[in-house]
Amino acid sequence: MPSFQLTLMKIQLVKLAHARSGDKGDTANVGLIAFKDEIYPLLVREVTAARVKEHFKGICKGDVERFELPNLGALNFLLHHSLGGGGTLSLMTDAQGKTFSTALLRMMIDVSDEEAQSFELIS
């Protein structure tokens, strides 16, 4: 019999969700969408506004706001003061925040063995 001990493992968001990002002025928006409805509560628990702010340290110079869309299994983040002034003022390659989506998917989150197995993340 295997022993059922609660162990945590790190999983990268790119294995759990897809995303699209865009801009409104100097604010980048990132919509994070769970691959499956069952994964959504895990995103709600782990991908908090505070963790996203920490993840984008040095990139996001303002607040991070988070909004929940349980109907789409999605979270929407607003990253204020992140685009070098935004629009035509910005000197950035990615002045419109198009690649903030994949930048968020780099985040590692804590998942229990049980969760990982139920989402078929490990065999």
Binding site: H18, A19, R20, G22, D23, K24, G25, D26, T27, N29, G31, I33, H55, F56, K57, G58, I59, F67, E68, L69, P70, N71, L72, G73, A74, N76, L78, G84, G85, G87, T88, L89, L91, M92, T93, D94, T99, S101, T102, A103, R106
Partner: protein
Amino acid sequence: MMKQKIRIAAGQGFWGDLPDAPVRQVEGGPIDYLMLDYLAEVTMSIMQKQRSRDPSAGYAKDFVPLMKQILPACVERDIRVTANAGGVNVPGCAAAVKEVARELGLSGKLKIGIVTGDDIMPRLDELLARGVEMRNMDNGATLDTVRDQIQSANVYLGAAPLVEALNGGARIVITGRATDTGLTLAPLIHEFGWASDDWNRLAAGTIAGHIIECGAQCSGGNCQYEWRSIPNLANVGFPLVEAAPDGSFVITKHERTGGWVIIPSVKEQLVYEMGDPRDYITPDCVADFTTVQLEYEGRDRVRVFGIEGRPATDTFKVSISYSAGYKAVGTLVYSWPDAFDKAQAADRILRGRLDRLGLQFDEILTEFVGANATHGPLAGNPAPDLPEVQLRVGVRGQNRADVERFTKEIAPLVLTGPPGVTGFAGGRPKVEEIVAYWPALIPKHEIEPKVELIEV
């Protein structure tokens, strides 16, 4: 009798999208409306500049040859067009389309509806004098701080004036700064007779517009989900909305086109450029994205239903553009070995020279393409043996001469900096005038949209 199903096709996601997409939308299968969104935030100021040089210019020129190509089919098959192609010269755009229609022998066979009243540039001082502040929505600044630099000022009009034009029998409706979503919502109000306070249905039509307003971005383009599996993007199908009178609709595309319409592709577009999902504010209503329900209705068919909305606000959004200095971006490519180190060394040398010249900039930004230009510090340390790195340095400032001087400092790095460098063949970087965007609100009662019908 009211139709039970209306098919609206999106033909352009922005000014400069695939040129043949609108034609393929008309030829590829049955549609009732073709919706064309031409105006991004900066587009109005570009058009304003064009008009100041030539009074007959200032609109999306591509629209006229496009109409020449598709108008006969539109008349024959009863397809109507809604487009914000008029830019800052709606009458000029309409006159050019009228001319084309006559050449095609369509005199007496169609009406062009034009919507104006969005341009408040001539009224700015009067409005400011009466205390209409138009403060910057992002930072609260007052408009007088940039008054002398303003180049254009346009209100985002909603669906209502377009509906009036369609009710009057317009085959083509040309607007200036109308919302992207209004171009889709207006046909639905016109066809289904939705009331102006039927907030749930207005929100549904608005969200339908949001889903298709970026063209193929909901039908396989820029789709992260299983991107390797997306079929035949070379012939990507632009989206169609198949709407029902109750406010539900299906997102789909023409048969025998590439791309895909799947729930994940629609979800990606739903969250695109989203703020607070409960508060998607347009001139027509406030749409609540947390009420959107999605389900499959067949291959490449996603049904959208359950949408709820709330009453519209009493303000219009204003898009004001103003000159905000100059910028230039220079690039060079450094190769293995030590590509990243060499690019960093070149950046230090360049900055030393800019310092010694005493040039004044508001900002200097260095990026290393291939190492950190998109994900910044999240990309971690670049691999030691990167095959190549592009050094990309941008400057922004108020003094054109200083920015100009910067552009002369890039190519010399090839003979006066680290080795293994190339990629300077394009010549000196171009100095660009920065036209910045000032978002503001204005009370609706200050604005009177005008609708005119022109017989061809």
